[in-house]
Amino acid sequence: MSFEVGPLAASPPVIPNYGGPPGGAHGCIARNGTFCWDWVKGHWGDVLQPRLLEHLELTVIAVGIGFAIAFAAALFAHRQRWFETPFSTFSAFLYTIPSLALFQLLVPFTGLTKLTIEIGLVGYTLLILFRNILEGLRSVPGDVLEAAHGMGLTGRQILLRIELPLAFPAISAGLRIAVVTTISLATVAAYITPLGLGQPIFYGLATDFTTEFVATAALAIALAIVADGLLVLAQRMFTPWARARRRTA
């Protein structure tokens, strides 16, 4: 007995879960081309856009919580020097756990949930934010602080009016790194829970459908670049003195 191969090969290829290719049996999708615009157009509404919004949500929550923790820790470490080493060691420890593994390790405790992803993502923002905030606070020149003391400013006034504004460039630089890093790691998080832009990437890799992972990856990259660009604009708006100084220099 021999099986007929002809009719099988001639039947139109079906893209897993996404129906037949719009370009017909010989279109880009049927050939599994590197990037098929047809697929992107056809699945923006049901695949790409919802994942993009999920991704944004994951990122905003993680960076928000991470910033609150790192900011409090950095302020404390700025006053109590002993605190720096334990906290930076702790956050560096978290940072060195590979993301793929950390998410797996959290699963037995928090399950295949969003909480697992957020705990992991927050953990990864701490080191960057803590280091940058603390470096920023410490970069304030000694004579500036002395002048502030001499003017009779209290510790709180020095912090709010002198240290934080002068530390702002370093803090916002840290925030930018934290945001783009979180966007990046959130794609990896989809290895555990099918949320965010990582989901179509892993799905595309698993089903060997190139356009899906290439297009989603491009979207993830675009998201990171746009987020970074918006943060730069925000930084410029909030530090007009830096631009003025640059112009005179």
Partner: protein, 242 residues
């Protein structure tokens, strides 16, 4: 994606070390692969990014390239770069090394540029007033003063690269990621064992560059260095301001 999960028990960590002891061949091979992939990426990034960043900072030019373009590079999610690389280069290590260089390069370039560019202009002017030539200013004034920030970039990049090389496991690039993405074969103890190895490698890389920083920093500046980054061995930081 993961099909089955181990239940996580306290002795999973003990099992992880037992896993290392039981599979020394596998662990060494994957660790060596991991180090090789990370080392290649760090080497390529260091050779290009540091000289370029320092030089651009010295001439105070190209802030667009060194900051904006580098930020675009830094913003690229590694998994996405690997995925696109897979579409271009196909399966293999080239893919992963390329993605790691893309990751490390901007971190180093931006830090090196900012470090040199932001040095107090008065200091540079004083040096010029003392009759120093531009290359003397670069080598004796700007570079030593910029070292802490340059090395901050290198150390961060090293930790990033070693940790991110794990993603290679997803696309069959080798390294410890091969174990981490294969919980079905190696169980959670194997995943933990490989993670410990990755973390140890990242710490070692960070430590190695910290040591290098200490060696290349001129002696008079080391005191200030210690004040910025407290010596873990003594745990005491000297105050930066009197």
């Amino acid at each position: 994606m993961i099909s089955a999960f181990d239940t996580f028990k306290p002795h999973t960590f003990v099992d992880a070390f037992r896993f290392m002891a039981d599979n020394p061949g596998l662990m060494w091979q994957k660790t060596a692969e991991h180090l090789q992939i990370s080392g290649e990426a760090m080497g390529i990034a260091l050779l290009i990014a540091i000289p370029l960043g320092v030089w651009l900072g010295h001439i105070h030019r190209g802030s667009f390239i060194s900051i904006n373009l580098a930020n675009i590079g830094r913003a690229l999610p590694s998994l996405a770069v690997i995925a696109i690389g897979l579409g271009i280069f196909g399966i293999g290590q080239t893919n992963v090394v390329f993605a790691l260089v893309v990751l490390a390069f901007p971190l180093m370039l931006t830090n090196a540029y900012v470090a040199v560019d932001n040095i107090d202009p008065d200091v540079v002017e004083s040096a010029r007033g003392m009759g120093m030539r531009p290359h003397q200013i670069l080598l004796r004034i700007e570079l030593p003063l910029a070292l802490p920030l340059i090395f901050a970039g290198i150390k961060t990049a090293a930790v990033f690269v070693v940790a991110t090389a794990t993603l290679g496991g997803i696309v069959g690039g080798g390294g410890l990621g091969d174990i981490i993405v294969n919980q079905a074969s190696y169980f959670l103890k194997g995943v933990v064992a490989a993670s410990i190895a990755v973390a140890a490698l990242a710490f070692a890389a960070n430590f190695a560059f910290a040591l290098l920083q200490r060696v290349v920093t001129p002696r008079p500046l080391r005191k200030r260095l210690r004040a910025i980054e407290p010596d873990v061995s003594t745990g005491v930081a000297e105050p930066t301001t009197a």
